[in-house]
């Protein structure tokens, strides 16, 4: 087995294959059983399981271990409640714009303005409720919405973009009301990775899994960075070398006029741009220090008199410009600022200095100026990201305050006290059909494909469904779910038999995309009425465990049936119809 260092290097390699990444993650998690653990829940309206893999990767690279729980499909409120109850402290919410409604981007132009407004109001209410339920969590990371389709060039602004911008403003507005909610800019991720490699259209159409690995990798990297490695680091000061780091050349030899710092030519503009990034950091509350082997007067001259120096004396908190070794100087800087050495980031152009600091002070984060100078501005930006990802700047704080005031001014039209009140606003309807021949193929398909919400995993061919439909003592129920935003289609099946005095439920299954709103409970009163009409006096049903249906192991308990016996994990339930009346679900209208 490879050692930890090798595996970490393998994991950190850009463009590593999924196989190598998975192997390295598994190996490292086995070798590092005792490191700090972070529990992360993921909630989305599309399949993003691979995000869990990449969160584990980047958490390992930050020296900790992530345990990931995947939520239900499109159930942010339910997921949040569950995560909070399970003591999960971090949550990633990833709404996917095109799947807010099926093929939303293609449909927006066909929808009425009122329908779009209604969807926005519903989302606002739902997110607000989810954020409110998430108060016990340490941190919620919520991704902004982004485009899936590339806009068509029609000479006018794209209407889909207009809706997207509105929804994003609303999302940020809602998020700003909650101190533990942090917005992640997914459009930046998309821009970085590039749309052609960000999406996998095959898996979006087949499995509602729109993202390819590179997008989720970069997203996970940003989340773990924004979380400062989940408490792994907290940088406060940037320590800068001077010659060939803040300017080109050596001020002691090239003199004040000879160093390269001209914004209008190469290579001066590289250093000038880099200084812009560092100055911005200072403005955002990061301490800048100098650590340079130079005559102090030469460096002072640049800061005070060079016409193009962005950094001035006032930017610098501590300067160690002398001929001492850099390790001693870094120690002195940390002491003077009264912060730990692990709060320092150090940047220098010299191989020798960088490796000396790395080996003597491994807790200091060291960056070397790239030997290919055009890469330097990008590195400076990365360093800035490292400091700011945690999001503590004054500017963003005042923005937050503004958002909060705005939010208070907004009419409370979208306010719901409870999840039930929200569900009631959805106008949920369930149509329960009996022996519906036109749906035969879809019913059979659902029994073949459903794995998770499936009590007995009884697979039925179309012919077998046909037999049941034709049989007088059997009924095939099919459930069609809709709400005021549209139709989710035929998404539930119950196969019942009337055996004298016993109503037997051979199968009950639902598509995962509709559960969590009470749909799975709402139709039982109607089904029991049928049973009584058939002369039944009791109902019997089984739960058969498979590798994939643990989530419904206690479903019949929750419905209110009594557990009669259990053998080999198979649970037999029963209830007398005289004493069993499941509560109707008030917010769902059941039609027959």
């Amino acid at each position: 087995m490879s050692d930890t260092g090798e595996l970490l290097a393998q994991l950190a390699t850009p463009g590593a294959t999924l196989t190598r990444t998975l192997a390295a993650i598994d190996g490292l998690e086995r070798q590092m059983p005792d490191v700090r653990r972070v529990r992360i829940g993921i909630s989305s309206n599309v399949s993003v399981d691979l995000l869990g893999t990449f969160l584990r990767k980047h958490t390992l690279l930050a020296g900790a271990r992530a345990e990931v729980t995947i939520g239900n499909h499109d159930d942010p409120v339910g997921d949040t409640e569950r995560f909070a109850a399970e003591g999960i402290e971090q949550m990633v919410m990833l709404p996917f714009f095109d799947n807010l409604l099926p093929a939303f981007e293609r449909r927006i132009e066909l929808m009425s303005l009122a329908d779009v407004d209604a969807k926005e109001a519903e989302l606002r209410a739902r997110w607000r409720l989810a954020f409110d339920k998430a108060r016990p969590l340490r941190q919620v990371w919520v991704g902004t919405l982004h485009r899936y389709l590339v806009p068509l060039d029609t000479g006018v602004p794209d209407p889909v973009d207009a809706v997207l911008d509105r929804f994003n403003a609303m999302l940020r507005d809602e998020a700003a009301g909650f101190a533990n909610v942090r917005v992640i800019d997914t459009r930046a991720v998309l821009q970085q990775v590039g749309a052609p490699v960000a999406f996998d259209h095959r898996f979006y159409l087949r499995n509602t899994a729109p993202y390819a690995g590179p997008y989720l990798d970069e997203l996970a990297r940003r989340i773990v960075g924004a979380a400062r490695g989940f408490g792994g680091w907290y940088h406060k000061a940037l320590v800068l070398d001077c010659d060939n780091t803040l300017w080109g050349g050596i001020v002691g030899e090239d003199l004040l006029d000879g160093i390269k710092l001209d914004p209008h030519s190469y290579p001066g503009r590289v250093y000038w741009q880099v200084q812009q990034e560092f100055a911005a950091l200072e403005r955002q509350g990061i301490l800048l220090c100098l650590c340079s082997k130079n005559n102090p007067q030469d460096v002072d001259d640049v800061l005070e008199r060079h016409p193009n120096s962005v950094l001035r004396q006032g930017h610098i908190a501590v300067r160690k410009v002398n001929w001492n070794d850099k390790v001693s100087n870094l120690r002195a800087i940390a002491q003077e600022l009264n912060i730990g050495l692990d709060s320092l980031v150090f940047i220098d152009d010299s191989d020798f200095e960088c490796s000396a600091v790395r080996s003597a002070l491994p807790m200091v984060r060291v960056y070397q100026v790239p030997s290919s100078l055009p890469d330097y501005p990008r590195l400076a930006r990365e360093i800035r990201e490292l400091f700011l990802a945690g999001g503590v700047s004054e500017e963003s704080r005042s923005k937050t305050a503004q958002y909060r005031q705005r939010q208070e001014a907004v009419a409370a039209s979208a306010q719901f006290e409870t999840h039930e009140a929200y569900l009631a606003s959805l106008d949920l309807r369930v149509r329960m059909a009996r022996d519906d021949a036109p749906s035969l193929a879809r019913i059979s398909e659902l029994t073949q494909k459903s794995n998770q919400f499936n009590l007995t995993t009884l697979r039925q061919s179309p012919a077998e469904i046909q037999q049941r439909m034709d049989h007088p003592d059997a009924t095939v129920y099919s459930l069609t779910v809709s709400d005021r935003f549209g139709d989710a289609g035929l998404t539930g099946v119950v196969l019942a038999r009337w055996e004298g005095e016993v109503a037997r439920i051979d199968a009950f299954l639902m598509s995962c995309r509709v559960i969590g709103r009470g749909v799975e409970f709402c139709f039982w009163p109607a089904l029991l009425d049928d049973a009584r009409r058939q002369g039944c006096r009791a109902i019997e049903a089984d739960y058969r465990p498979t590798a994939k249906n643990a989530q419904v192991a206690d479903f019949y308990d929750r419905l209110g049936l009594s557990l009669v016996s259990e053998d080999n994990g198979v649970r037999h339930y029963r209830a007398s119809l005289d004493h069993f009346s499941p509560r109707p679900v008030e917010w769902i209208k059941v039609t027959e």
Binding site: L18, T19, F203, N207, A209, G213, K548
Partner: protein, 79 residues
């Protein structure tokens, strides 16, 4: 390394089972961890590892070791 061995190694990592356990009767029905999510990862991993693009129809249908071997052989021949 032979194509078969690389294939087994990829499947082992993605599905989280020992490579030695993979054989002619390995399929979505016999491997508990092989669900639709793992299947997507498997297709992506195989495409990366072998440098091929598995056609969409095949991607959905290669749910056993022998079937994957057949489709990969076809793709590698076409390269």
């Amino acid at each position: 390394m032979s194509m078969e061995q690389t294939l087994k190694d990829v499947m082992a990592v993605v599905l989280g089972v020992p490579a030695e356990s993979i054989g002619e009767d390995t399929s979505m029905d016999t491997v508990k961890s092989w669900d639709s999510i793992k299947h997507m990862n498997l297709v992506l991993a195989l495409e990366e590892e072998f440098g091929v693009a598995i056609p969409d129809e095949d991607a959905a249908n290669i749910t056993s070791y022998p079937l994957i071997r057949v489709v990969l052989a076809e793709q590698l021949q076409g390269k």
